[in-house]
């Protein structure tokens, strides 16, 4: 059944051998030394502080949605950094290798990365950024905010929530491992067939890519199911659909895409895996395989996936703009409808990624027009935000800066998308860096919104703000950097530069590449400020910006999550709030219920910690590793381990514990004392009284 392989193979170690350790490549060795020293430093630090037990009890085994969300965010941030390093390498190579007379270093005839290595960096950049950086951060945000916004104590399935996190982490870990053991896919983040078939990629790179996508994709599907179920089933009393806040609406639409699109990824990845492992002919170049079927299936997932990335940011921007304009969101209903219109249309546009395949003009027209239609709901949203800001009391704190930034990025990226949706134009521009400029512009919207969300909700979760002065520096350096990198890219695309080039044959393009390089420098500055922002804010959390309140942090908050205390206690709400308005907090503030306390406290059921998700992650990682290296016995053992753990879990019945009402009360009293001692400045808000509510 199995395909014959080239090269060394043994029963116990599969394809693994010393030949796969890239000890002769100075860049990778450097990265390895760096990673090891950071890893060792962290381990040593934790051991010295004696934090292992704490980490195990409070984080690794926790089913608390806020902690899981935070772990998602942290993982996303680490991967964002890794993807950024890849980007720096790509840009440096292109800037160095423009024209036949450019010098070559380290085995490369031009620049410093030989083509095969460059292609791996390129492939990992895309894969990491989309699937392991931006996506986990979005899911982390939903994890933290959605239960709070619907007034729940946790997600619908806390256990699955943890599994979702760990599956994504396993995928990320496999990608990281590929750097030091073996290689990564050189077939781009889209895994171009037939290049990604065994005949043309005989190494393990594509296998790493496949298993990382497979495992994390399942994690994302599970996570999406959890969010939808939480929103449909766990809403607080009184919260009818009309009162569901906008961020939760966008989470719902994003997660519906997650549930419906990610299974297709599972399919396309499985079929390619079968091609590579058992020699079937789905996408091969002969014996009845169809290369174009791969593109079709991949983009059937891929396009909804890119809207998966943008819908939630729309929700963040809506929340932030309403907050910092001190106004109700303009056109709420149209906003929700537009969100779902985008999600719906995303099921009729995927062919725009391969207009040039050769299908008939009727088909292309259908998909081209459907693609352009997306511009309409997007435009509706843009106008709604502008009207929300219109005549508002605008405060440009960092979250608002990021949100306003997206208002500029969105039309540029959207319109360039509409240009690409015109079939004849796309025939010219397909696979040029114009496309890259388009989607980076769009993904920048996502990233900006993520930073908006982080700065906006940080005090909600931790009880103190990130330093706004440094925050503004982060923002402005990002803006400059993004402009320098991506605006020249549009020009380069129109001048005919194609994507995925490790060598650019036209020296006249070099000035543009240098401008981009300057942009990369600014990105480094931005990254520096970002680190500084976190470091300084956490170090100085006790000084000045420390805030513990009844939610209120920015003074314009509106939705339900602010009804919970800041920082949010582990049970979220001592007693579940009854929801009267979509902007419940704004309403409570206007009605003077800011400090209302429940008459009595009740026992609370909370999910118990469990080590099973973590153990399952371990088994899954071993499984992925075994499959990449084709170590069949290890694959079988680890798979059996996964199943055994699941069965074991189904026999454990007391998965919850009770927090007695008295304990809840004690906790709340303590909080109130703390608040009154530390945040007297919060009182005026209460006195603002009626009339503030718009």
């Amino acid at each position: 059944m199995l395909v014959p392989l080239q090269g060394h193979y043994s029963f116990w170690l599969g394809r693994l051998s010393m030949q796969w350790v890239p000890y002769d490549n100075p860049i990778i060795v450097g990265a390895f030394v760096f990673a090891c020293s950071v890893g060792l430093a962290i381990v040593a630090g934790i051991t010295r502080l004696g934090w292992w037990g704490y980490l195990w009890r409070e984080w690794v085994t926790s089913l608390d949605h806020k902690k899981i969300g935070l772990m998602y965010m942290i993982m996303g941030a680490i991967m964002l950094f890794r993807g950024f390093v890849d980007a720096v390498m790509i840009r440096a190579q292109q800037a160095m290798a423009a024209g036949p007379h450019t010098a070559g270093f380290l085995d490369a005839s031009h620049g410093y990365l030989p083509p095969f290595h460059f292609d791996q960096v390129y492939g990992s950049h895309g894969t990491i950024m989309i699937l392991f950086a931006v996506t986990p951060m979005l899911i982390g945000m939903m994890n933290i905010i959605v239960p709070l916004q619907v007034g729940a104590r946790d997600m619908a399935y806390p256990f699955l929530n943890s599994i979702g996190l760990y599956l994504t982490a396993v995928g990320a870990a496999l990608v990281m491992l590929s750097l030091f053991l073996g290689e990564f896919s050189h077939a781009g983040w889209v895994g171009l067939t037939p290049l990604s078939e065994l005949a043309y990629s005989p190494g393990v790179g594509v296998d790493y890519w496949l298993w990382a996508l497979q495992i994390s994709g399942i994690g994302t599907t599970i996570g999406s199911i959890n969010i939808v179920a939480t929103i449909v089933k766990m809403r607080a009393p009184g919260m009818t659909w009309g009162k569901l806040p906008i961020f939760s609406w966008t989470s719902l639409s994003m997660s519906t895409i997650g549930i419906t699109a990610f299974p297709i990824l599972t399919v396309v990845v499985s079929l390619l895996t079968l091609d590579r492992y058992v020699g079937t002919h789905f996408f091969t170049a002969g014996l009845g395989g169809d290369l174009m079927l791969y593109k079709n299936l991949f983009w059937m997932w891929g396009h909804p996936e890119v809207y998966f990335l943008i819908l939630l940011p729309f929700g963040v921007v809506s929340e932030v703009i309403a907050n910092f304009s001190h106004k109700q969101l303009f056109g709420f209903t149209t906003m929700v409808l537009a969100t779902f219109a985008i999600a719906g249309v995303s099921w009729s546009v995927w062919l725009h990624h391969f207009f040039v395949m050769g299908q008939g003009p009727g088909v292309n027209t259908y998909f081209g027009i459907a693609t352009m239609l997306v511009g309409i709901p997007t435009g509706v949203k843009l106008f709604n935000w502008i009207f929300t800001m219109c005549r508002g009391r605008l405060h440009f704190d960092p979250p608002m800066l990021w949100a306003t930034g997206t208002l500029f990025l969105l039309p540029i990226g959207g319109l360039s998308g509409v240009i690409l949706a015109m079939v004849p134009a796309d025939y010219e521009m397909h696979n040029s860096v114009f496309v890259i400029a388009h989607f980076h512009n769009m993904v920048m919207v996502t990233v900006f919104a993520e930073f908006a969300a982080i700065t906006y909700w940080f005090p909600k979760v931790f009880g103190f703000k990130l330093d706004p002065t440094i925050g503004k520096k982060v923002f402005w350096s990002w803006v400059v950097a993004a402009a320098l990198v991506f605006i020249p890219m549009y020009g380069l695309g129109l001048m005919g530069m194609t994507r995925r080039l490790s060598y650019i044959s036209r020296p006249e393009l070099q000035p543009f590449l240098y401008v981009q390089e300057a942009g990369m420098f600014m990105f480094c500055v931005a990254a520096f400020y970002q680190f500084k922002q976190f470091y300084m804010s956490i170090r100085d959390r006790a000084k000045g910006v420390h805030l513990i309140g009844d939610g209120e942090v920015w003074s314009g908050e509106r939705s339900v999550e602010w009804v919970a205390h800041s920082p949010v206690p582990f049970y979220n709400f001592a007693v579940t709030p009854y929801i009267h308005q979509r902007d419940e907090w704004a309403w409570r503030r206007a009605e003077g219920h800011v400090r209302a306390k429940p008459e009595r406290y009740v026992d609370i059921e909370m999910p118990k910690n469990t080590a099973i998700p973590f153990l399952m992650a371990g088994a899954t990682f071993v499984f992925g590793f075994a499959m990449v290296w084709r170590i069949w016995w290890l694959g079988a053992v680890s798979f059996a381990g996964i199943v055994a753990l699941l069965v074991l879990r189904s026999f454990i019945d007391d998965t919850e514990y009770t927090v007695p009402a008295a304990d809840v009360e004690k906790h709340e009293q303590q909080f109130f004392r703390h608040r009154d001692a530390h945040s007297p400045d919060l009182r005026p808000i209460e006195q603002a009284g009626r009339g503030v509510y718009l």
């Binding site: 009393p237 599972t266 002919h281 014996l287 395989g289 079927l293 299936l297 059937m300 009267h580 026999f651």
Partner: protein
């Protein structure tokens, strides 16, 4: 919702979670994602179903009679599990276990019969490696058979749990999920039967 400005508003209200409803809803969503998996495979099938690459054609590969026998077996298993669910609803654990056992045995017949077909085809050299058509043929049928096999194991697990734990809330919610799983497999089988077996035989 009209808010009465004069009365003191209700600001807090505890609610009791509906464990069963929550779990079956999530599982239903999961099954919908499973349906999408099949839909993607059927989309692939629609492209590959004529890609014989000089190998056997669909008329040579599929046996509509076997497909029909498979259908009868699967529908019977579904029916038996349905009866089991009725026994559960009235709290008859023994009957529930018996019906589940029967459903599992009949389903085992289904898997056995299909495996026999697979073995036969492989014996004739009709392997998934032969052509694009045979690749998708084996994957579609194989995935469905795998689901049925997993369902059988799940039934065994539930028989143990019903016997030892009784009809507790978690056990009942798992049983309901099992039912949803099984009935979805039946719906999917309809598509496999009609589009792979029957239309394959028509050509």
């Amino acid at each position: 919702m009209a808010f009465d400005q004069t009365a003191t508003p209700r600001l807090f209200e505890e609610r009791t979670p509906d464990l069963i409803g929550n779990r079956t809803f999530g599982f239903w969503l999961y099954m919908l994602s499973d349906v999408i998996i099949y839909a993607a495979l059927f989309a692939a099938f629609s492209v590959l179903h004529t890609h014989y690459a000089g190998g056997p054609t669909s008329q040579q590969v599929v046996e509509p009679l076997h497909g029909f026998i498979d259908s009868v077996l699967l529908f019977s298993s579904v029916w038996l599990l349905g009866l089991g669910m009725r026994s559960m609803a009235v709290g008859e654990r023994a009957m529930l276990i018996a019906f589940m056992g029967l459903a599992a045995i009949v389903a085992l017949g289904f898997v056995g019969f299909e495996s026999y077909d697979f073995a036969h085809a492989l014996g004739k050299g009709e392997s998934p490696q032969r052509s694009g058509y045979l690749s998708i043929y084996f994957v579609l049928l194989g995935l469905h058979a795998l689901h049925i096999f997993v369902g059988i194991l799940w039934m065994l697990l539930m028989m143990v749990q019903v016997a030892f734990k009784g009809l507790t809330e978690p056990v009942v919610s798992r049983l309901l999920n099992l039912k949803i799983f099984w009935m979805f497999q039946s719906v999917i089988w309809v598509c496999v039967f009609v589009f792979v077996y029957l239309l394959g035989a028509v050509g």
